[in-house]
């Protein structure tokens, strides 16, 4: 059994309003504690904004600006520059956004912040769709997944945001999962110590959106990692790829079986999805193997 090694300093309070069993709340607890109290946050409209709760209460101990959906990275840039103008160079600026606010409507602002290498830590809670509005597809929704706007399954693949970000050559990009909380805390701590734009994408199996049992989100996330659907790795300076957890030891079937969004899959569709995962995995391992020193 893995021992979870992070210190809970009470930066995320009880009384939050996540769904029972939600691993985004769990991830937020780890992230907020790892990033520490000298932090100013920005939250885009998303599950994160809901989880933090309504005015005047907040589940986060840090101050948070509730910004607009498409401008999390721009808002974070503005906060960082204001802090720099005040001589507060060491205060962390943390963005919390969903995949809609990152892969879709917020991509332009994120790309611009990355191009300027703004000193921000950007967290994308990736539940592969607009789950806070009832479960519609985003460009992060994977091939074949059923959502409110793709009831027969999405016909195109998930956008490879990580490679888009890597092309910006920002200092740090990582993926992490609520099934691997020590990995999550370590990546946050590593990112926090780096100056420039850092982006961490967190896989969030969504209980209602994916049709996952209330007690199965961590298990689903772990199966996603172990089947290679959501590999855990990091990219430094856009070129140095490192796997951070040993993985891909099983086919995708156990991962799919936990989720209602894939239950319509034909054998043919299942095989296409497996082929896509295998191809993506091969591409990633080649990047790791060919990593410049």
């Amino acid at each position: 059994m893995e021992k979870i090694s992070y210190s809970d300093e009470g930066q995320f309070c009880s009384g939050h309003v996540a769904c029972a069993g939600c691993v985004e709340a769990l991830s937020m607890r780890v992230i907020l504690n790892a990033v520490g109290p000298d932090t100013v946050g920005v939250v885009a409209p998303s599950c994160s904004a809901v989880i933090l709760g309504g005015h005047p209460m907040s589940a986060a101990k840090i101050p948070v600006l509730h910004g607009t959906l498409e401008s999390a990275a721009a808002s974070a840039s503005g906060i960082k520059r204001a802090l720099l103008a005040q001589g507060r160079d060491d205060t962390t600026v943390l963005c919390l956004a969903g995949d809609g606010g990152t892969y879709d409507i917020g991509l332009q602002a994120l790309s611009s912040a990355a191009e300027r290498n703004e000193d921000i830590l950007y967290i994308c809670f990736d539940n592969e769709g607009y789950m806070n509005t009832g479960g519609q597809k985003s460009s992060s929704t994977p091939l074949n997944a059923a959502t409110g706007s793709t009831p027969l399954g999405k016909v195109t693949r998930k956008k490879n945001l990580i490679e888009i970000l890597a092309a910006h050559r920002i200092p740090y990009i990582a993926t992490t999962s609520p099934s691997h909380l020590s990995d999550m805390a370590a990546k946050i701590e590593k990112a926090k110590a780096i100056r420039g734009t850092k982006v961490i994408i967190v896989l969030i199996p969504c209980l209602p959106g994916w049709g996952v049992a209330d007690n199965a989100a961590v298990k689903t996330a772990r199966l996603g990692v172990e089947s290679g659907v959501f590999p855990l790795f990091e990219i430094e300076d856009g070129v140095r790829y490192t796997m951070t957890v040993d993985q891909k030891n099983q086919p995708i079937d156990a991962y799919l079986a936990e989720q209602k969004r894939y239950r319509h899959l034909s054998d043919d569709a299942r095989n296409k999805l497996q082929a896509e995962v295998d191809e993506t995995w091969a591409r990633l391992t080649a990047m790791v193997d060919n990593c410049p020193l």
């Binding site: 100013v40 920005v42 904004a49 809901v50 933090l52 709760g53 309504g54 005015h55 005047p56 907040s58 986060a60 101990k61 840090i62 101050p63 948070v64 600006l65 509730h66 910004g67 607009t68 498409e70 401008s71 990275a73 721009a74 808002s75 974070a76 840039s77 503005g78 906060i79 520059r81 204001a82 802090l83 720099l84 103008a85 005040q86 507060r88 205060t91 332009q108 602002a109 790309s111 611009s112 912040a113 191009e115 300027r116």
Partner: protein, 388 residues
Amino acid sequence: MNAPAFTDNVQLLNGNHAVAWGVRLAAPDVAPLYPITPQTPILEKLIEFQSQNTFDAELLTPESEHSAMAAAIAASATGARVFTATSSQGLLLMHELLHFAAGARTPIVMFNVNRTPASPWGFWPDQIDSLSQRDTGWIQFYCENPQDSLDTVIQAFRIAETVNLPVMVNHDAFYVSHSVEPVSLPSAETVKDFLPRQPRQIQLGDGSGRSLGAPIDQASWNLTRREMDAGMSLVEDLTAEVGRSWATLTRRTSAPLEQYQTDDAEIVFVTMGSMTGTARIAVDTLRERGVAAGLIKVRLFRPLPAAALRAALMDVPCALVLDRNYSPGTGGVLHQELKSALFGMAGAPRLYGLLTGVGGVNVPAETLEKLAADYSDAAPDNNPIWVE
């Protein structure tokens, strides 16, 4: 107030460079900027100042005006003095965030260069870009010439930071933005004293742990608008007071409304922006011909100085509203505003809404003189009138 610090530092500046000088003197902490014709000379001049170490704001050059305004709001919420500038399409792209900035009570100062919005594409002076933002909660000023733009952008910081509402200062594309005139520059010390830095009541990251903008119940949302209303209600008097204070330092007057030859006027032009200069010439010419013409320049448009407009137009027989903008389905925006302000007033003038110079069409003083002749004894007409 200190002894008047009069200055003889007069430079030939176009309107945009006058704005940049005003911003340099106001010394914002953060300035997100995105280029757009005909605003770009403001951006270029500020970046030139920065390269000369005479302007040390944190400059951001994001990918869009939308992100520029998002950064401006966030920086302002974090306690910074913030400036940005835009025009036309850029302002319209910001629309969502204009509401946001006012709701968040961020005292941002933005300069907008009034330009026709597409479609079709055009780059000409027309005020519909900013007038169509009148319901967003921004205080709005319209400037007549480069000196007015410099003076107003400096005053805007004091007004914004007093009531915690954002201020949009406007001048017309090219007629003001690119026209060169002598501009008197106040000293850095004068402006520094005029714009003291005051700690903000609520500031992200101030150690209190307070968040900003989290979801709120209906009654609390309602309360935010009542509080904005209370803030807005202070702005007309505040503008007058700030203008008087500026006058003691610079000998230049500026008020919410500026009146020219209105005391005994039988016919009054009502203008905003660059049209004002043309109307002054028309008033002088008409007076030489024995016509009792006058002029009201609406410098502060939001909040509309309605009581002052009523007082200025009381018992004036005829008023001609010159709108360099067109709101489809209703006509000129200033005409609508005047009708609303004067509604039910005994002694209100016959009011004509004249669509003059829409799309940047040139309007010479002779046209205004002819309008005065045409409408001094005309039948009442509530509808907008297109002027050739």
